[in-house]
């Protein structure tokens, strides 16, 4: 072994630290440490005006089983799931069509998909209040047709519409990239072997774009589940989602330990989901 080798190894290690260090450092300080704090809060009693008393207890977890809170968690998962499903149903055809556009139009369509992000999220959400309220354009239209007015604002439907609107691009983009990657000859091969277009979609296009589907679903489900602004603005506070609950525990009820337990519950749901996604993506990707 030459004397240069250890030096080179050292140089390599130094290079790695230099390139990966800042990112890891940032994540450690601003994610892992706070996460560890939240985790540790779950086993202590609440302080009177926020904070924690370092007296170990298990009651924060038993409280989670209280139907009052469990319903909030389940209801949130349900709304996030409905949003995700609708986003998938709307997003897939959109992504599919964009992927088939000529190159120039593709760019324009993709910019259009991302365009809403250029406007403030709150302003866009307020716009939905204007759209959906009892005097708004939607209800005026329905009235003119003799179908309304219908109560649109401050319903679960309004929350789903808001979440869907906010996160649909996060579904379209990964789907687009998955469909775009597909070899068009595979569709031709399927047709050549006697498959109608619908059969080709179910047997070839969809299974091969499954990794994109799963990524899109996670991208939409995760922020939908944790969102607390849209339920408040469009749900009118009638429907509490788990995001609202967590915020309230920390900022209003000043019960940090229970807020931490709720946060942990959300994290657990998401981790399970990510595992499922990784597993399915690996299965689907094994052949690709």
């Amino acid at each position: 072994m030459t004397a240069r080798q250890p030096a080179r190894l050292l140089g390599k290690a130094a290079g790695r630290v230099a390139t990966m260090g800042p990112g890891f450092g940032f994540l450690t300080v601003f994610m892992l440490v706070p996460l560890a704090l939240v985790l540790s809060y779950t086993v202590f009693r609440r302080g009177r005006f926020g904070g924690v008393l370092y007296e170990p207890t298990g009651e924060n977890f038993t409280r989670l089983a209280d139907p009052l809170y469990l319903d909030v968690v389940i209801g949130s998962v349900k709304l996030a799931a409905i949003t995700t499903l609708l986003a998938l149903l709307l997003g897939y055809p959109t992504a599919y069509l964009i992927a088939k556009l000529p190159a120039r139009w593709k760019v324009i369509a993709l910019v259009a998909v991302v365009l809403p992000f250029w406007t403030n999220f709150l302003i866009r959400t307020y716009a939905w209040i204007v759209l959906l309220n009892s005097e708004g354009p939607v209800n005026s239209g329905l009235k003119a047709l003799g179908l309304g007015p219908v109560e649109l604002l401050y319903t679960d439907g309004a929350i789903v519409a808001g979440l869907l609107y906010a996160y649909l691009p996060l579904m379209i983009l990964p789907l687009y990239s998955a469909v775009e990657k597909l070899d068009p000859e595979l569709r031709e091969a399927s047709a050549n072997l006697g498959a109608r277009p619908a059969r080709t979609f179910w047997s070839v296009t969809l299974p091969l774009s499954l990794p994109g589907v799963l990524t899109g679903c996670v991208f939409v489900f995760v922020p939908s589940l944790g969102n607390f602004v849209i339920p408040e603005l469009l749900g009118g506070g009638r429907r509490i989602m788990v995001g609202n609950l967590i915020r309230d525990q920390f900022l209003k009820a000043r019960d940090w330990p229970f807020g931490s337990v709720l946060a942990l519950a959300v994290i657990a749901v998401l981790v399970l989901l990510l595992f499922a996604q990784a597993w399915a993506a690996r299965r689907a990707g094994r052949g690709a």
Partner: protein
């Protein structure tokens, strides 16, 4: 018996004419090749037969029925893609069964036919593997099995051997021929590789610039090219352009060259002489004989190639002799060939009739 009748088929892509009034008949049970350089339109023609493209004008009939009216997924035509286009998420047997499942055949029959075809191509042991677990040659055989198992009237093969290395290539070449014999399906292979076409096909259509130049058996194409393009494209050839006379071809700078009786006297024509038809001998006093200086000798084992420069001719002449060449670089030799061993091609007429 004619299986496929292509009549006056044209296809343009914007400014590019991919196919220019192509007419061809493909017979039942034959091994047919579409041969030409890239961009000659052969792939477009193949895609029209498969149903992925529609021609702008012209008709394609299969057994006398209009093929163009049938959508791709209902045509009795299967294609082996150049990229193989195997479904990556399905096992070998699922890939092969896919086409039969679309015909809604009973499960037992599908299993039986898939098993049989996998045995034919020697992939029984790999039935449950995914395509990415196979070698290039194995993938190609899956692609072939997937197309053949449908028992199509017409099997299209797009550059079937191009992705394989040399050893597997010659194996597959034999296998393709054997298979074609066995199943009795009409094969149409598209290729830019003339050796592939010559060795596989019963008949070859040479295409150039969207037109069919000549359709003939491989040996006829080689010995009797009918257009300058074919003369230059198929095999090595020594080409001379000159004026047809009673005694041969009058070429500027070279004089009278031996040529078979051919087109109308006085017309311009191209003379094509194969390297192996050229005789080299000692220089004699005969003033009319062609003389050349040897510029290079390459020994290939079975044959030797001799390159000669001819005074008055801007391209080197190539001669091929059996075994070791008996001439040396720098030597002055007499060059001759028999008139009937050369081919005379009218230059006024080309497949594209524009030249």
């Amino acid at each position: 018996m004619t299986l496929i009748s292509i009549d006056g088929v044209s296809r343009r892509f914007g400014e590019v004419t991919a196919l220019d009034s192509v007419s061809l008949d493909i017979r039942q049970g034959e091994f047919f090749a579409l041969l030409g350089p890239s961009g000659c339109g052969k792939t477009t023609l193949l895609r029209i037969l498969a149903g992925f493209e529609q021609p702008d004008t012209g008709s394609v009939r299969l057994d006398g029925a209009d093929l163009l009216a049938i959508p791709a997924h209902r045509r009795p035509v299967n294609l082996m893609f150049q990229s193989y286009a195997l479904f990556p998420h399905m096992s070998v047997e699922k890939n092969v069964a896919y086409g039969l499942e679309r015909e809604r055949l009973p499960r037992a029959e599908i299993r039986e036919r898939v098993g049989a075809v996998l045995e034919t191509v020697g992939l029984t042991a790999q039935a449950r593997r995914r395509p990415h677990e196979l070698s290039g040659g194995q993938r190609q055989r899956v692609a072939l099995a997937r197309a053949v198992v449908k028992r199509p009237r017409l099997l299209l093969l797009d550059e079937p051997l191009s992705a394989l290395d040399k050893k597997v290539r010659s194996e597959m070449q034999l296998e393709l021929k054997r298979l074609q014999h066995e199943v009795g399906i009409t094969f149409v292979v598209v290729t830019h590789d003339q050796e592939e076409a010559m060795s596989l096909a019963d008949r070859i259509a040479v295409m150039n610039g969207g037109r069919v130049e000549q359709v003939d058996a491989p040996a006829d194409l080689y010995e009797r090219p009918r257009t300058p393009f074919v003369a230059g494209f198929i095999g090595a050839n020594n080409l001379f352009t000159g004026r047809v006379t009673e005694k041969g071809l009058e070429v500027d700078g070279l004089g009278l060259l031996p040529a078979p009786a051919g087109p109308v006297e006085g017309e311009t024509a191209m003379l094509a002489v194969r390297p192996e038809r050229i005789r080299l001998g000692p220089v004699t006093e005969d003033q009319g004989a062609l003389r050349g200086r040897v510029v290079d000798v390459s020994f290939y084992g079975g044959v030797s190639h001799v390159a000669l420069s001819l005074a008055g001719h801007d391209r080197n002449l190539l001669a091929a002799t059996q075994g070791r060449a008996r001439v040396e670089t720098g030597a002055e030799v007499a060059v001759s060939w028999d008139a009937e061993d050369a081919a005379l091609v009218p230059t006024g007429v080309s497949g594209d009739r524009r030249a």
